[in-house]
Amino acid sequence: MARQNPATGETEAQGDAIVAVPLRHPWRISIAVVLVFLLALFIVDASQRPDYGWAEVGKYLFDRRISQAAWVTLTLTIYAMVGAIILGLLLAIMRLSPNPVVKSIAWLYLWIFRGTPVYVQLVFWGIVALIYPVFTIGIPFMTPWITIPNDVFTNLYITAVIGLALNEAAYMSEIVRAGLLSVDEGQEEASTALAMSWGQTMRYVVVPQAMKIIIPPTGNEVISMLKTTSLVAAIPLSIDLYGVSRGISAVTFTPVPLLIVASIWYLLFTSVLMVGQHFIEKRFSRGTGRRQAGPASETDPAVAAVTAAPLGNDLGGKG
């Protein structure tokens, strides 16, 4: 029997080391082999099939029209997401407000914009300039004082940004709301007790902590938005990546190579975004102790209970 030597703390004798036959997993290997074989078969076949037109792919991948269209897709994504995040933050705060009027407005917005397809919304924004050709200011049903032509919705690019942002804001507001709700109540209380105003409490205490919860799903939304921009064809705007690829293929009668070209660009962007998201997440996990391993991350259980904020459970709630 092994005994501890109180002087050295070492065990005087050790039990026999375990030498056992490891559990075999024959199915894992056989399935993997079959899948790799099938994949190889597909690649070999695809490389020879004329429909894929690999020469065409190479020709159009760095075509100036394509790279310009990729730039349009990227800026559409950025503008739409920035708009959606700002509006989403506003809507989230409105929904958490004690004012029932403000709360209802936010709820109604969510109900409409999350309850109808984004494609349908984009078609609507595309024809809104026909419904409202001018903006007027004045007393209703009287001759207006000022008449401004509707230049906003006649510009299809701006229409696309607005249409995408308005739809996305509904989703962003739920993400932001879940983040704000996840911050421990004691934080707001401590900040209030220090005489900080509600605005300061939100800005310096609650929102920075909510970011940890908000950022991962927001990264998801950015990636999703990048692909949703292909729906601007509904407006119809055709200067984005998908629109231009389709335009070229309509002339050259080579749809598949251009789909591959567009997909490669989309994949490139989403891959870069994934890397970016990783670094942002790291930045906002400051002070949680998760970042540093080892003894430094040991926390008092009571503290862990405070800092490990409960995840918002209202995400995707009744809208």
Partner: protein
């Protein structure tokens, strides 16, 4: 003529729904005094404390800090609720320490301490930092300024929380069971800081279960049960010779 008491509670009541948490509480704390509030859990001690800096609204009675009505303005015979800004102004002079510390986890100890002076009092960062370092020294954590709360022990966190409250130069400090969430061996370091604070003349209202601390430091002790102050007086009298049966029953369990 005696000076205005730091805190005057005049028959205040508070209920959450049908639950009457405070029932006509009257208490006074003089400037420079340490008032300890003891009693079983659920007796309304913490709620009373939270009313003093208006984290909770009272339903009846009047509550004054330095002769000033808390949370309301009296105009004629009517009370007007204060705007959030005015309520915040009243809180500037009242520090609060919580049972679960409530440090801001995304800031270092130092950043925790300088927030309110910078944001509320608009003190420049360099000046606030100097003062914060003094306070960190005072609570015995001069070398921990750059640590995040998660990397400090419970006792250290609570001491940072005390320094954070002191950074606003309060006239009154409220302690809401400051040692209840701590491991037993960490209680002493926090109580030592509080004793030092009491000796320096700070007015303190302390909700606590530490009877030893209350006996040693308090100028007066109030025993609360079921939302009322059952008995209050100097420690020697209240602990040594309690008059009420409920006080006797409680003390026999905790002493």
């Amino acid at each position: 003529m005696s000076a205005t008491p730091m805190v005057t509670a005049d028959r205040i009541s508070k209920s959450f729904g049908s639950n009457n948490v405070l029932r006509s509480i009257s208490l006074e704390a003089q400037a420079g005094e340490v008032l300890c509030i003891v009693g079983p859990s659920g007796s309304g001690k913490s709620t009373f404390l939270r009313c003093i800096n208006h984290l909770e609204k009272i339903d009846a009675g009047r509550l004054f800090v330095e002769g000033q009505l808390v949370g309301y303005r009296e105009k004629g015979d009517k009370l007007h609720e204060l705007k959030p800004k005015e309520a915040a102004l009243q809180r500037r002079d009242i520090g609060m320490v919580f049972q679960r510390f409530n440090l801001f986890p995304h800031m270092t100890a130092l950043e925790n301490i300088i927030q309110a002076p910078m944001r509320v009092k608009r003190i420049p960062k360099s000046k606030a930092t100097l003062r914060a370092m003094e306070l960190m020294e005072r609570v015995g954590l001069g070398d921990k300024a750059d640590h995040y709360p998660a990397h400090l022990s419970g006792g250290q966190q609570q001491r940072v929380a005390i320094a954070r409250a002191l950074a606003m130069d309060p006239k009154l400090m409220l302690f809401d069971e400051p040692t209840s969430a701590l491991d037993p061996e960490l209680v002493g370091e926090v109580l030592d800081v509080m004793k030092e604070l009491a000796t320096s003349g700070m007015t303190m209202i302390v909700v606590t279960h530490e009877m030893g601390f209350a006996r040693e430091v308090a100028d007066s002790i109030a025993f609360m049960d079921g939302g009322v102050v059952v008995e209050s007086g100097p420690p020697r009298e209240l602990l040594g010779n309690p008059q009420q049966d409920r006080t006797k029953a409680f003390l026999s369990k905790v002493l």
